[in-house]
């Protein structure tokens, strides 16, 4: 996907003056992009659903949907970057929950909520750094390391809370504002989400640091042979992903007004699915933030639609899984034809 976007940019500054041919090429390229396909599917779903359910196109429903994917979207950003560098993280759900639990417990112990949150995010960053250490210095696989951390972090959540949600009724309103307030009509959650998305999308496309992430994921050895310290890059993306889980956990806490030790079970699958539907490859080197976010939106719109259509909750996972499988299959064939 990145290739096509980049290609389009380069064409703009190509030697030849833009001709109708160039424009046609750009249009053709646009249609080959996965993002375009995703947008079309999402728009189609919107049209169908607006006829199928009178509630779908209401402000309340739109807002609820956006709230649903916004926080998870922050985790998706971290996962996408990690996938591009060639890694994967199964611990995102439990690390998110752990951020909530740590901040919640600190708050109950009398720490001011902002400091508690900062410490919780720091702790999650530390967990990421530990995973990064095992992956880069020890040389274990991301999958195994994060699987272990997923279980450990969940265990820590349950241990810290005795398995029960902690009510944080005394959270000051200015803290709850992060999760529940609005700026004008736009919820703060969505503002934070947009800032993270726009900033990370820009950085991923344009900054040297994130270009090194692409190099490393595309061909780690070639990256090393270009003088890139690939272990540092992987350490960085691993740590960044956990740090973003920490941020997401704090926002959830502010939104729910409680810390839930069982929160985010199965989240990793949704997050990885969104990134992959959006074009990230499990073998690294490809992926875009924009695509991944469209992936989250698609999954979220589908869940919301199914709920409005009174489809049993139990069907939802089956449908989500099928969407993932079809997206990846279609992409596989498109790629094959292109090569």
């Amino acid at each position: 996907m990145t290739q096509e976007t980049k290609a389009a940019t380069f064409d703009g500054v190509g030697q030849q003056p833009p001709s109708s041919n160039g424009i046609m090429d750009a249009v053709r390229r646009l249609f080959r992009m996965r993002e375009t396909g995703l947008v079309l599917i999402i728009v189609a779903l919107f049209i169908v659903m607006s006829f199928a359910s009178p509630y779908f196109l209401t402000w309340v429903n739109m807002r609820a949907m956006a709230m649903a994917f916004a926080v998870e979207g922050i985790v998706v950003v971290g996962m996408t970057i990690l996938l591009i560098s060639g890694g994967i993280d199964l611990s995102v759900g439990s690390v998110t929950a752990l951020a909530m639990v740590i901040a919640g417990l600190l708050f109950l112990a009398g720490v001011d909520p902002w400091t508690a949150s900062a410490l919780a995010i720091l702790a999650c960053t530390g967990i990421g750094a530990i995973m990064g250490f095992f992956v880069t210095t020890v040389g274990l696989h991301h999958f195994i390391v994060s699987l272990a951390v997923m279980v450990i972090a969940r265990g820590a959540c349950l241990l810290g809370t005795g398995g029960r949600p902690i009510g944080l009724y005394t959270l000051p309103p200015e803290f709850k504002f992060i999760g529940q307030g609005s700026i004008g009509v736009i919820p703060v959650v969505i503002v934070i989400f947009l800032v993270v998305v726009v900033a990370s999308d820009f950085m991923l496309r344009r900054t040297t640091i994130f270009r090194k992430v692409f190099y490393t994921g595309s061909n780690e050895k070639a990256a090393a042979y270009s003088g890139i310290r690939t272990k540092r890059v992987v350490f960085f993306t691993t740590t960044l992903c956990s740090a973003l889980c920490g941020v997401a956990g704090i926002i959830y806490m502010a939104r729910f007004g409680s810390a839930q030790p069982t929160f985010g079970m199965g989240m990793e699958l949704n997050v990885i699915a969104a990134a992959v539907i959006g074009g990230a490859s499990l073998s690294g080197g490809t992926g875009t933030i924009f695509g991944a976010i469209l992936g989250v939106i698609l999954l979220s719109v589908v869940s919301s639609s199914l709920a409005l259509l009174d489809v049993s909750v139990y069907w939802q996972d089956i449908i989500r899984g099928s969407i993932l499988l079809s997206a990846v299959t279609i992409d596989h064939y498109l790629n094959k034809r292109r090569r």
Partner: protein, 507 residues
């Protein structure tokens, strides 16, 4: 007449989309001959072999096997006919035994529910006896590349093959191992097996084959008896024009300089090489010769701090370097071109521009680390034009390019940092004749401009043709230095392998 032909192909055509890979090709293979196939990249050699092995189905044309018209619809059909294909890339399972690898296909078609390992080992030992000393119960992982190659051949032989296709079998072999392979080939031929032999090394074709067929641009050009033709004639048929000068002019007497760019002293890496000392002078191309595994790549990687824990002195333009990571070496102006372009030289799925700037991101970005697409594309275009890179636009993925053009991208990547010394490891491997001589000219131009060039090559004619001076490496030490008329294949081989028992016997 047909009775002595095992394989007869007539009017075969095949196209992939818009690309016509084979055009009306005819080819005949006699029983019990070694038949070399020569041609540049893209000449259609591999497509033809894939058709014979049933991997690719032709659009039109006829194949006769032992006089019978056949339809080779899949590799399984080819196997049943008795066609064995030993691919260039080794495709063995590293974690299972040699015997199990050899009988993979047999096991696959066998109906027996249980494995009979005792019998498997016995049968494998029997096959391997024809080929050399390999333990059938060893894990493939523990074998050397050449032994693995022999296992591949053994695998093909178990299928009672009558036609054996060998695609670049010597690419990873040392001279000695290659000789063993040639002996085996002769033995097989005397048993009535026909061999189709593909190799870039012209000398091998002439020493070991009976006939040679030349292909160019998907077309069959000619077939000659090796005894009645010359390498020059074959090369000219391959390129379709007369290549008068294969190599660029060497450094003239008056161009010779005493000023040393790079000076290496007592460079040692505990396991791989020891006591390496040499000077690289202004304007010269220095060659590193040696057998595969002698430590040539390790030495240059050591100088660049890419690999190994190296001790010793590296002095660049009179200043001692204190680098500990390749990143610092690049900053000092030492760059390395990898021998495995696809494996670790390039980012194949990324664009040309993104590849070219991999070493020089700070050149195309602002101080805040934000990449400027225009600068990046401009850099790629400028270097691409300098190297005569043939591509649509620089946003296109590198995987779209031919081997020669990919190599130019890899070289452009190095040139983007204005290096002082370039180490090239097998810079023309897998590159066709035309692009090869272009790369040689590029290297000579760079040397003239004052860039130090150190080149590793396993192709002796190339080293002799391109380099002004050659250092020979044997078992991790420099065993000789040759220049001018002393640079002959015999002199180099002698220094590269004099401790070798087989050669000693010859001496």
């Amino acid at each position: 007449m047909t009775s002595d032909l095992i394989l007869q192909i007539s009017n075969l055509s095949k196209s992939f989309g818009a690309i016509q890979a084979l055009r009306d090709v005819s080819f005949e293979l006699r029983k019990g001959e070694v038949h070399a196939i020569a041609g540049e990249n893209g000449a259609g050699k591999s497509t033809l072999m894939n058709v014979i092995d049933g991997i690719v189905r032709p659009d039109s044309g006829e194949i006769r096997f032992d006089g019978q018209k056949v339809n080779i619809a899949s590799p399984a059909v080819a196997q049943r006919l008795g066609i064995g294909f030993v691919h260039q890339e080794i495709a063995l399972c590293p974690d299972i035994s040699v015997a199990e690898n050899i009988f993979m296909a047999t096991t696959n078609i066998s109906r027996a529910p249980l494995m009979n390992y005792t019998r498997l080992a016995e049968k494998a030992a029997e096959v391997l006896r024809r080929l050399g000393d390999i333990n059938p119960s060893a894990l493939v992982r523990s074998l050397s590349i050449s032994q693995q190659q022999l296992v591949e051949i053994a695998k093909a032989l178990t299928l009672d093959c009558r036609v054996l296709i060998l695609d670049e079998p010597t690419a990873a072999l040392t001279e000695k191992e290659a000789q063993i392979l040639f002996d085996i080939m002769r033995k097989l031929v005397s048993q009535g097996i026909s061999i189709i032999y593909i190799s870039r090394r012209m000398v091998e074709n002439f020493d070991n084959c009976d006939r040679v067929s030349v292909f160019r641009d998907g077309q069959y050009i000619t077939t000659r008896n090796v005894a009645e033709t010359t390498p020059t004639e074959i090369v000219n048929a391959m390129v379709g024009r007369v290549i008068d000068k294969l190599y660029p002019e060497k450094q003239g007497e008056n161009e010779k300089s005493d000023s040393v760019i790079l000076s290496v002293r007592q460079l040692t890496e505990k396991r791989r090489f020891a006591d390496i000392s040499f000077d690289l002078r202004q304007g010269e191309i220095l060659g590193l010769a040696g057998l595969i595994g002698a430590g040539r790549s390790e030495i240059v990687k050591g100088i660049c701090k890419l690999e190994g824990e190296v001790t010793g002195e590296i002095v660049l333009n009179g200043r001692q370097l204190d680098t500990s990571h390749y990143q610092e070496s690049i900053a000092e102006g030492l760059v390395y071109l990898s021998e495995d372009r696809k494996g670790d030289g390039l980012f194949l799925d990324m664009s040309i521009a993104e590849n070219v700037s991999a070493l020089s991101l700070e050149q195309v970005s602002s101080q805040l680390g934000i990449i400027n697409d225009r600068l990046e594309a401009g850099l790629a275009r400028r270097l691409g034009a300098m190297l005569n890179l043939k591509c649509g636009h620089v946003g296109e993925p590198v995987s779209n390019l031919s081997g020669g053009n990919q190599q130019k991208v890899a070289i452009a990547k190095l040139l983007s940092v204005n290096p002082k010394v370039i180490f090239l490891d097998e810079p023309t491997r897998g590159v066709d004749v035309g692009a090869k001589s272009e790369i040689h000219r590029i290297l000579r131009d760079l040397a003239r401009k004052g860039v130090g060039i150190v080149m590793i090559s396993s192709e002796l004619p190339e080293l002799i043709g391109v380099c002004d001076r050659v250092l020979v490496v044997r078992e991790g030490r420099i065993s000789g230095e040759l220049s001018g008329n002393d640079m002959t294949e015999e002199n180099i081989m002698y220094r590269a392998s004099v401790l070798d028992k087989r050669l000693e016997a010859v001496q």
